[in-house]
């Protein structure tokens, strides 16, 4: 056996075909992921179109000062985190419930039809969800206000009532993700050994006890892992959802503005590259910390599910 360590160029030649195959992917990743990472310095610069990333002048932490002075910083961070926590917790509960109940249903046809209906919202864009939300919640035409007035109540002006939006956004978030999200839990439940169920039945457990003491504990590893992975993205606001449901309705921003929508508005509406990149920088750093920590926690729990 040859034990002599081969040099870099020897390997470069030996792996030439592999490297050629990797080339498109690597080139893409370098240009569209790594190069923008260096652009993060824009958070400390006064951007000019002519100067680009490198030619623009440094301006220290002015962008951040402006961001925090505007009073929007804490609001969007709070909104992003609270919404994500709400979505993760309530969403998980609903998805598990769907998975548990679907597996209890004996009729194959019913199960298939129900699951297809639940999967349907995943396939449409948030633009279309925005249209649907208007059908339901619009003050003049919405079906809810129609119901309220036909019962003799007073119309609720949802589109000018900020406090109604956590509920509306939660509803559509669960609505769009329930079919997709429950698939993982369905798979986990299918993986449970049927002998455990049988012995539970022999021991006199009723079906509810079986669900709470056998099924739920059995899928707990999946629940914990998916929970931790979604905690990793807690500082990432769902731009598509917020911008299509809320739009440019400034009245609602107190309850609906998240990091991503503010960063987008600062960039596209007010052309404020400085503030937008300051927001982006903070978000990238916070996301990095949460994703790495979440991954670390997952690895303590089960090595197989981590990225590294």
């Amino acid at each position: 056996m040859k034990t002599k360590k081969k040099g870099f160029f020897y390997h470069l030649y030996k792996y030439r075909v592999f490297l050629l195959m990797l080339l498109p992917g690597v080139a893409y990743t370098l240009l569209f992921h790594y190069y923008p990472m260096t652009g993060i310095v824009l958070a400390f610069k006064k951007y000019t179109y002519a100067g680009g990333i490198w030619g623009s002048k440094w301006n220290g932490v002015d962008n951040f000062k402006f961001f925090f002075k505007s009073g929007q910083a804490l609001r969007v961070i709070r909104n992003t985190v609270l919404y994500n926590m709400l979505f993760i917790v309530v969403g998980t509960v609903f998805q598990i419930a769907v998975a548990v109940f679907l597996t209890e249903i004996k009729s194959r046809r019913f199960r298939k039809i129900a699951q297809s209906c639940m999967f349907l919202p995943h396939f449409i864009s948030w633009v279309i969800v925005g249209v649907m939300a208007f059908n339901i919640f619009s003050s003049d035409f919405g079906i809810i206000n129609r119901l309220i007035t036909s019962l003799g109540g007073k119309k609720i002006p949802f589109y000018t009532k900020p406090s109604a939006w956590p509920g509306i956004l939660l509803f559509f978030n669960i609505w769009k993700g329930i079919g997709y999200g429950s698939v993982m839990y369905l798979a986990a439940i299918m993986g449970v050994d049927t002998e455990v169920y049988e012995s539970a039945a022999i021991d006199g457990a009723n079906v509810f006890q079986r669900i709470f003491f056998v099924t739920i504990p059995a899928i707990m590893p999946t629940v914990i892992i998916l929970f931790l992975l979604s905690i990793g993205g807690i500082f990432r606001g769902n731009f598509d959802m917020f911008s299509n449901l809320v739009g440019s309705n400034g009245l609602l921003y107190g309850y609906t503005d998240v990091i991503d929508t503010l960063a987008f508005r600062a960039l596209m509406t007010s052309n404020d590259f400085g503030m937008s990149s300051a927001i982006g920088f903070m978000q990238s750093v916070m996301c990095f910390i949460t994703v790495v920590s979440a991954n670390k926690l997952v690895s303590l729990y089960d090595r197989d599910y981590t990225l590294f």
Binding site: V17, L22, F123
Partner: protein, 309 residues
């Protein structure tokens, strides 16, 4: 053993708890399924109602005063819709096909044990899931460095390569026995030939899954157009819909002005609310029709993607 099976089956038929659970399970699932379905039904019903009924009574679950006026209005000027469709279809086909080739090639190399640098390269790709430059640097890259404003590449490139797809593909390829690939190599097969003639046919389900993930992402993308496309002739479907729904008066004027001469109508006489919904239906239709085929592959993809390769 025999007696336990007997009690279990007996339990299944007669237990009050089983009946209760069944009622709850059916009711819960039926309710959720209905709630998922109703907004779709409402959009279709609204689009088939008369404008007058909607402005007077508001939206409902069933059509009111059945009318196809809104659809007729959309098809008075079909070309704007057809153009947006053509843009999206082309983008979806080109993007999905290119993406599949690049991602499969990359995933294949990252699973080859004879490739000593695969760990470094895997990290190189995974790291992008942890850290990103964010909105502004990416925007500056597209608009300033690469000057891709009003260029179809700005719609194609953002979705063509994804690390999540890479993970799904890797775990599929890892399921192929090494001996098969070694044998091919013994017979003098090159790496490209192994990939295209041996690996690819074996991972057809993965290609279908990732292809559908990618196609759906292209079909539903409106973000990239919002950032990089100013020319309204270049709008893809979803952004076209976004623009028209948020500026429905503008769309009505567009339809009225694009009419063949002699057929003069004023924009005011066109429907508003039902027009929005008819346009939404025209845009959503194909996805909902393609959905039954797609669902199966999606289910596979989600389950496999979660367990990293």
């Amino acid at each position: 053993m025999k007696s336990s099976a007997k009690t279990a089956s007996k339990n299944k038929i007669t237990g009050a708890d089983v009946i209760a659970l069944n009622i709850i399970a059916y009711a819960f699932c039926a309710l959720i399924a209905l709630v998922c379905l109703i907004p779709f039904v409402m959009v279709v019903s609204g689009s088939l109602s008369s404008e007058r009924a909607i402005t007077e009574n508001g939206f409902s679950i069933l059509p009111q005063e059945f009318s196809t006026e809104a659809y007729k209005t959309v098809f008075k000027d079909p070309w704007v819709v057809v153009r947006a469709y053509a843009t999206t279809i082309c983008l979806t086909i080109v993007g999905t096909f290119t993406g599949l080739i690049i991602q499969t090639m990359t995933a294949y190399v990252l699973t080859r044990k004879t490739f000593g640098w695969r760990r470094y390269f895997s990290f190189f790709f995974y790291f992008t899931m942890l850290f990103s430059g964010g909105l502004v640097p990416t925007y500056v890259l597209y608009t300033n460095t690469l000057k891709l404003t009003n260029n179809y590449l700005a719609l194609l490139l953002p979705l063509v390569f994804g690390v999540y797809n890479l993970l799904v593909m890797k775990s599929y390829i890892q399921g192929i026995p090494d001996s098969l690939i070694d044998a091919a190599k013994m017979d003098g097969c090159g790496e490209f030939r192994i990939l295209f003639q041996i690996v690819m046919p074996l991972v057809k389900p993965a290609l279908a899954t990732i292809g559908l993930f990618t196609a759906l992402a292209y079909w539903n993308d409106w973000n990239s157009a919002m950032l990089y496309i100013r020319d309204e002739k270049m709008y893809p479907l979803q952004y076209f819909l976004y623009q028209q729904v948020n500026n429905i008066e503008g769309y009505k004027k567009l339809i009225a002005s694009n009419l063949v001469s002699g057929d003069v109508i004023s924009a005011v006489s066109l429907p508003t609310q039902t027009l929005k919904l008819a346009l939404t239906c025209v845009v959503t239709g194909p996805i909902v029709l393609a959905f039954p085929i797609a669902q199966r592959y999606f289910v596979q993809g989600i389950t496999i993607g979660a367990v990293k390769g």
